[in-house]
């Protein structure tokens, strides 16, 4: 998770290290799905330049963009974070003043062929003001002396009316007494829930490509629920357009009757491929998974996590990813050791954990799991039950073992 205040003013370079300027503002689509569409760059010559986000390669200490970029322009329904959102008054559905937008939180969404940013919500807490002033960590460190921990208060994007935003108002969908700010560390969990709700709501109006994309990015439990809930015809069309191994994973988790019904509606070519994959193996991954994994809380700092690694993982044969679980023990994020080393001692893990998890079920065949590991180039996959509780992990080590055996046979 990123904050706008942390991105503002970041230097922008092309991939061959030529400086373009600094980030001035961010343009997003004012809708239920607030994707960042463009960046406003203040160039070295102090002019303004609008860059479509598709040219952005990486956001780290600096922002790296493609060498051959084209300039974009503002289109309908697009708004600026700084100009239209930041510091603005938030009102509830009855027009009462609630609080101000102190910062805007942004989530990176990285898949193999897609790099996107989208707005997850607004920070309405005091911490947001302190961050903008650049004294956040100073104050936090000071408060820690008294064993006091200040965390941000969030209003998730789902509570804001995007239509009113275009009219210059930051208006909520709820009344102020229903207002329940959530902690950023619980954001991942919340987003999944709202995603599912949104998908159900927009069931009939979403176009096929978009709905497939949403389904692919959902938690596997929601995927199964959706496919079961939908008309077989709709399910079949979604199944057709998502990755075959993903599709097989979903199909194996539903009843055989429903599966056959959906498969009968899928086109011949995909059906053949899916049947092949389903027929490959019925070997459950149960005997390959291990309980040698580490879970931490979203608010743990990198310092605490490193301490925990030293204490608790002495006996582990393999550790590549660390899993983040919320207070209900549900899996909400993951990060690797590299992420851990790159961050400051006092940074809480929710700030850099990946919320968009790739998971498998206990029913997932090993072949499907292998394909997922290879496709996403992951060192390990978490296995979750229907309540999102982590049951164990399947690591690259186990897969190597399995494949070696297969090759020997």
């Amino acid at each position: 998770m990123l904050y706008f205040s942390e991105l503002e003013g970041k230097r922008i370079y092309t991939e061959d290290r030529i400086e373009v300027g600094a980030l001035e503002d961010i343009i997003f689509v004012a809708s239920a799905n607030p994707v960042v569409s463009k960046l406003v760059i203040r160039t070295l010559k102090k002019t303004k330049l609008i860059l479509p986000f598709s040219y952005v390669l990486h956001i780290g200490i600096t922002i790296v963009i493609k060498k051959a970029y084209l300039i974009g322009e503002l289109t309908e329904n697009e708004l600026f974070i700084k100009k239209n959102l930041l510091d603005k008054q938030i009102i509830d559905i009855g027009g009462n003043k609630i609080v101000r937008v102190n910062d805007v939180s942004i989530q990176e969404k990285v898949t193999t062929n897609l790099y996107e940013l989208y707005i997850t919500g607004v920070d309405v807490g005091l911490l947001g003001v302190l961050r903008r002033l650049g004294i956040e960590s100073l104050v936090l460190r000071f408060l820690r002396i008294f064993n006091y921990n200040l965390t941000s208060d969030f209003l998730p994007w789902g509570d804001i009316q995007p239509l009113e935003l275009s009219r210059g108002k930051v208006k909520l969908k709820i009344t102020d007494n229903k207002l329940q700010n959530i902690r950023p560390e619980d954001l991942a969990d919340y987003l999944e829930q709202t995603n599912e709700k949104n998908v159900r709501k927009f069931l009939n109006i979403l176009d096929k490509n978009f709905s497939s994309e949403v389904v692919e990015n959902l938690n596997i439990n929601y995927q199964r629920d959706l496919i079961q809930y939908w008309e077989p015809k709709k399910s079949a069309s979604v199944i057709e357009s998502i990755q075959p191994d993903e599709a097989v994973d979903i199909l194996l988790a539903i009843s055989k009757k429903k599966r056959d019904e959906i498969l009968s509606l899928v086109n011949e070519k995909t059906k053949k491929e899916l049947m092949h994959l389903i027929g490959l193996s019925r070997t459950s991954i149960g005997r390959f998974i291990t309980s040698e994994y580490l879970t931490v809380s979203p608010i743990d700092t990198t310092r605490k996590v490193i301490d925990q690694i030293k204490k608790e993982t002495r006996e582990f044969s393999f550790i590549a990813a660390i899993y983040v679980v919320n207070t209900d023990k549900q899996l909400v994020g993951v990060f690797n050791l590299h992420d851990l080393l790159l961050n400051e001692w006092d940074t809480p893990v929710y700030k850099f954990m990946v919320q968009n998890l790739i998971e498998i079920r206990i029913t997932t065949p090993i072949e499907i799991a292998i394909r997922k590991i290879l496709r996403y180039r992951l060192p390990a996959l978490p296995v979750v039950d229907k309540d999102k509780h982590i049951l164990g992990i399947l690591t690259f080590d186990h897969i190597t073992e399995y494949m070696t055996k297969r090759l020997d046979n």
């Binding site: 003043k97 609080v99 101000r100």
Partner: protein, 422 residues
């Protein structure tokens, strides 16, 4: 024919009555803000300059009336047109860093002004042999109850009643038997103006006590709390001019009361707060008591208004509901800031080891630095077509506003520099 005439008369009266009633319903914010500018510290300043320079300082009042009217009118217009307080505008248009800077300064400056007010009450109390601690405690309890318990309406009415009590200065002035002819002509015709350093300082002190950063914040927030809309703009503007006039109308009598006595008999006054007792031998018991009562009244009004300013400003900064109409549960933070702003200066005044002079000088300087910044925001906003639409400053008005701001800024810089280096 006759009946038509009757009808016309009736409809005229009817229209007059409606517009009069509407006016009454709009009346309040600008007058109260302007009157609060004559807080206890203000009264002390007027007494002092009256005693020192006599009627000649009255000419300065005329200029200040115009300056106050212009600056307050801009604030009222911005509030009504945009529906935003000065705090909202600074945060939204000038960013969080600028806002934090301005709001911290405002809090410190307001604390200083409140200290001056509490101190005026304390000194006047002790002159009349009243226990200072009890007085201040009573004022704090009364202010808090009246802000928390009352809604906007009751608050405004109490302020207006308090404003009426300024009449006691008129009585005091009459009892002092001044030379009315000289006093009145001195307002419009500069007489015996001595451009000495002291005179310039005194003029600027009068300006600084009347045109204040908190006054600019307060008038906007208070107009908003009254929920005035664009159709009330015309009358609110008229009220602003009226407020500026009536405030300086009372200031006139404060100055006259000491000018006719202390200045006339060449009695030196160490501090303005002692004026109430000092005029007794010349103007009599009643004038003296009323003058003292006037300081309590002015102190009470100033204390509530300035504390409210901080509460309004910080509510606007954080964006929570800041209104006198909000129930305690909803406006908890608003009332909390109000109480905090009220108690800190009271505690400081109670501690024996403070140097009031240093605090007042520091406060005046800080207010002085803040004023140009306020005018920058006001002029920027009131000239922005995107925000103000057709209600932006008229061209000639803008020249006037810029000149007024420039005069105030130059005066303020002059005082600070002179005080620091001479």
């Amino acid at each position: 024919m006759n009946t038509l005439f009757d009808k016309r008369v009736v409809s005229f009266f009817y229209r007059f009555r409606t517009s009069f009633l509407i006016s009454l319903s709009i009346f309040g914010p600008a007058t109260i803000t302007a009157m609060a500018d004559n807080d206890a510290a203000g009264v002390a300043t007027y007494s002092l300059v009256g005693a020192k320079f006599g009627y000649s300082i009255l000419f300065v009042l005329l200029i200040i009336t115009f300056l106050l009217a212009i600056t307050q009118e801009m604030g009222v217009r911005i509030a009504i047109v945009t529906g935003k307080g000065l705090g909202d505008i600074i945060r939204e248009r000038f960013g969080v860093k600028m806002a934090v800077l301005v709001f911290t300064s405002l809090f410190i400056a307001n604390t200083g002004t409140l200290i001056a007010n509490f101190a005026a009450i304390k000194i006047t109390g002790s002159l009349f042999n009243l226990p200072a601690l009890v007085l201040i405690l009573l004022i704090i309890i009364a202010s808090f109850l009246f802000v928390v318990k009352g809604n906007y309406r009751t608050n405004q009415n109490i302020f207006l009643i308090s404003a009426l009590f300024y009449i006691c200065y008129i009585v005091s002035a009459f009892k002092a038997k001044p030379d009315w002819g000289l006093a009145l002509t001195s307002v419009v015709i500069p007489r015996n103006l001595t451009f000495s350093r002291d005179f310039v300082f005194a003029s600027i002190a009068v300006l600084g006590t009347t045109i204040t950063p908190w006054g600019q914040f307060f008038v906007q927030s208070y107009v908003l709390d009254k929920k005035l809309t664009i159709k009330n703009l015309r009358f609110s503007q008229v009220e602003t001019y009226f407020g500026a006039f009536i405030t300086n109308f009372f200031s006139f009598f404060m100055i006259v009361a000491t000018a006719a006595t202390l200045f006339a008999y060449k009695i030196p006054l160490v501090s303005g707060e002692q004026a109430a007792l000092a005029i007794k031998p010349f103007a009599g018991e009643l004038a003296s008591t009323l003058f003292g009562f006037g300081i309590f009244n002015a102190g009470f009004m100033g204390i509530v208004v300035i504390s409210l300013t901080t509460a309004y400003a910080f509510s606007e900064f954080f964006g929570f509901e800041g209104s006198l109409d909000a129930p305690f549960t909803k406006g908890g933070l608003f009332y909390g800031i109000f109480l905090f702003q009220l108690i800190i200066p009271a505690l400081i005044v109670m501690s024996p080891s403070i140097s009031l002079f240093t605090i007042v000088f520091f406060t005046q300087s800080l207010n002085g630095i803040l004023l140009p910044v306020m005018f920058f925001f006001l002029l920027q906003t009131s000239n922005n077509k995107e925000i103000m639409g057709k209600y932006i400053n008229k061209r000639w008005y803008n020249y006037f506003a810029v000149i007024a701001s420039a005069v105030i800024v130059v005066a303020v810089i002059f005082t600070i520099v002179a005080n620091l280096f001479f």
